[in-house]
């Protein structure tokens, strides 16, 4: 018995670099050799899907991009899937950014989805309004008067000359808002200053770390739903039936989570043995 205990203690005091190595391996191996575990959508994800599905064709949807390259793996698949879903149902998409680097991310998604996959016409099917500095002031500006804030789009084209912008003066003219967000300013500012005061429905896709912060808003009905991190993105990919980078990451994600749980268990076993021995002496 004590030999087994010693073995556990040894594992318990292992150099943490072994842990690093194990984590690296369990992430990289499933990426190279995928298994394809089934993906089961959670309710919050389904709610987002249903909300977009129930919009009448040709609805005007504001898509706000608020993340930078560092959280791209989590947010970008959401943006791509939402964009695909919107264009499949022939909605009109308006894209804004609250983060300066969000503009690169948005351009990337537009190139991939709007231009290459759907051949949508700029100015008729979608508009890229771009980034404006000012954090929550930008949200407030879109709510009070969008045209004051955006006189030109990203490509320096005058807003008056863009046909899709006809009849759009402020946030109330949109039918839905989706915010793909990684922090401040982002989802919470949209809830506080835009969706709450105007009653325009919104949904969001957030990084995993933010889920807990936005949950009270979802629970209170201030948002229709939330895509939670990369698994949320994978669930959405499953719902629209188009697999992407989030789905391919799910095997690695699953295995890594299991291994971390295993670490916690092993660490605690060692801790218990240690504590019991300390009691005896």
């Amino acid at each position: 018995m004590s030999k087994i205990q010693d073995a556990f203690l040894k594992i318990g005091s292992v150099d943490r670099r072994w842990i690093f190595l194990i984590i690296a391996l369990v992430v990289i191996v499933p990426l190279l050799i995928p298994v394809g575990l089934p993906i089961r959508p959670t309710d919050t994800t389904k709610n987002v899907y249903d909300a977009i599905e129930s919009l009448p064709t040709g609805s005007k949807v504001l898509l706000s991009i608020e993340y930078s390259p560092s959280t791209r793996p989590e947010n970008h698949p959401m943006t791509i899937s939402i964009m695909r879903h919107l264009f499949t149902n022939n909605h009109k998409v308006f894209i804004t950014c609250l983060w300066p680097d969000g503009q690169f991310m948005a351009q990337d998604a537009i190139n991939q989805v709007a231009k290459n996959e759907f051949n949508k016409v700029y100015g008729e099917d979608y508009v890229f309004l771009g980034f404006r500095p000012g954090n929550e002031a930008v949200v407030k500006g879109i709510v009070s008067n969008l045209r004051k804030l955006y006189t030109v789009d990203v490509y320096q084209e005058k807003i008056e000359n863009i046909p899709l912008m006809n009849g759009i003066t402020n946030f109330k003219d949109f039918d839905f808002l989706f915010s793909s967000s990684a922090g401040f300013p982002g989802t919470i500012e949209w809830v506080q200053y835009a969706s709450d005061p105007t009653g325009v429905p919104m949904a969001t896709g957030v990084t995993s770390i933010q889920v807990n912060e936005v949950m009270p808003y979802v629970q209170a009905g201030q948002m229709v739903g939330v895509l939670a991190g990369m698994p949320g993105a994978a669930e959405y990919e499953a719902l629209i039936g188009q697999k992407g980078s989030a789905t391919s990451g799910m095997d690695a994600q699953s295995v890594a989570h299991l291994v971390i749980v295993l670490f916690i268990v092993l660490g605690n076993v060692a801790y218990f043995i240690e504590r019991n021995r300390a009691k005896k002496y």
């Binding site: 922090g183 709450d196 912060e213």
Partner: protein, 287 residues
């Protein structure tokens, strides 16, 4: 109830407002009246308690373990002859947490001046750098040790979150501080800091209101001031009556909030099940 001045002032304000209201409330956002009432009630509760404490009123404050540990940590660093690292968060002075972090820094600086321990404060915003320097300078002056103060004890690294984390990491690994304190607004770098601090065996005390980061601090640090405890910390440390009075005021407001939650739940239940009363949700919705 003895504070006549306070009640008189309140009465005057209420009367003036009523007159203004009767006069047709020009330029007023009528929709936001609930917020105004709430703000007035809460604000005057705070002021009442501050005045109460200033006039010598005394009351009990439960101990916060993390705060006692601050002084112990400074003591231990002195014994070991190693510096103290203080991180006031990664956000700017427009976040109230950062300001609270700078206030606590002022108190820590007093202790380090007293114990003659060196203090190292890397910051990630220049406005914070300026404010933190001022706070430290004043503390060293008050303790009569301006000779020990050195501008570069508070120094700027970079605005970028992870570059800052990398920089602080480097400082920890190379200078090996005996105590690390993280007080302010934190994001993802919290774990990098706390884990590295753990690996160099420093005493770690954290205080933050960033919800997502509290679990990491709770598990990796020796003590953590959670949310509101962190805001109360500056009052506890300063022992100034006007600040301690504020803590008691906040407690009163908390009780009021609990009462409001219970009441509005009862009203809502009555309204929806039996049609008695009114829809309290409408009242609480501020556009």
């Amino acid at each position: 109830m003895k504070d006549k001045q306070f009640w008189l002032a309140n009465l005057v304000i209420i009367i003036v407002f009523l007159v203004y209201w009767m006069a047709g409330q020009p330029y007023f956002f009528v929709d936001r009246i609930v917020m105004l009432v709430a703000m007035f009630a809460m604000g005057s509760t705070l002021i009442y308690n501050v005045r109460f404490a200033k006039q010598g009123g005394e009351f009990y404050l439960r101990p916060i373990p993390g705060l006692k540990a601050v002084e112990e940590a400074v003591g231990r660093s002195t014994e070991m002859g190693r510096p103290i690292l203080y991180v006031p968060g990664i956000q700017d002075m427009d976040q109230v947490e950062t300001v609270a972090g700078v206030i606590v820094l002022g108190h820590v600086a007093k202790m380090t001046a007293r114990y003659e321990t060196s203090l190292n404060v890397p910051v990630s915003r220049s406005i914070v750098m300026k404010a933190a320097r001022e706070a430290c300078r004043e503390s060293y002056m008050l303790e009569g040790r301006p000779d020990m103060f050195n501008e570069d004890m508070v120094h700027y690294l970079t605005d970028d979150q992870f570059a800052y984390a990398a920089g602080v990491n480097g400082i920890m690994v190379r200078e090996k501080p005996a105590a690390c304190m993280y007080m302010g607004k934190f994001y993802a770098e919290s774990l990098i800091l706390a884990e590295t601090g753990n690996s160099i065996g420093a005493i770690q005390i954290a205080g933050t209101a960033s919800q997502a980061q509290i679990p990491f601090f709770v598990t990796a640090c020796d003590y953590t001031l959670i949310g509101e405890e962190f805001f109360a910390a500056s009052a506890y440390l300063s022992k100034k009556p006007e600040l301690i009075g504020g803590v008691r005021g906040q407690d009163m407001i908390k009780v009021a909030i609990i009462v409001v939650i219970i009441l509005s739940t009862i009203i809502m239940t009555m309204y929806e099940n039996f049609g008695i009363g009114f829809n309290v949700i409408e009242l609480l919705t501020v556009r």
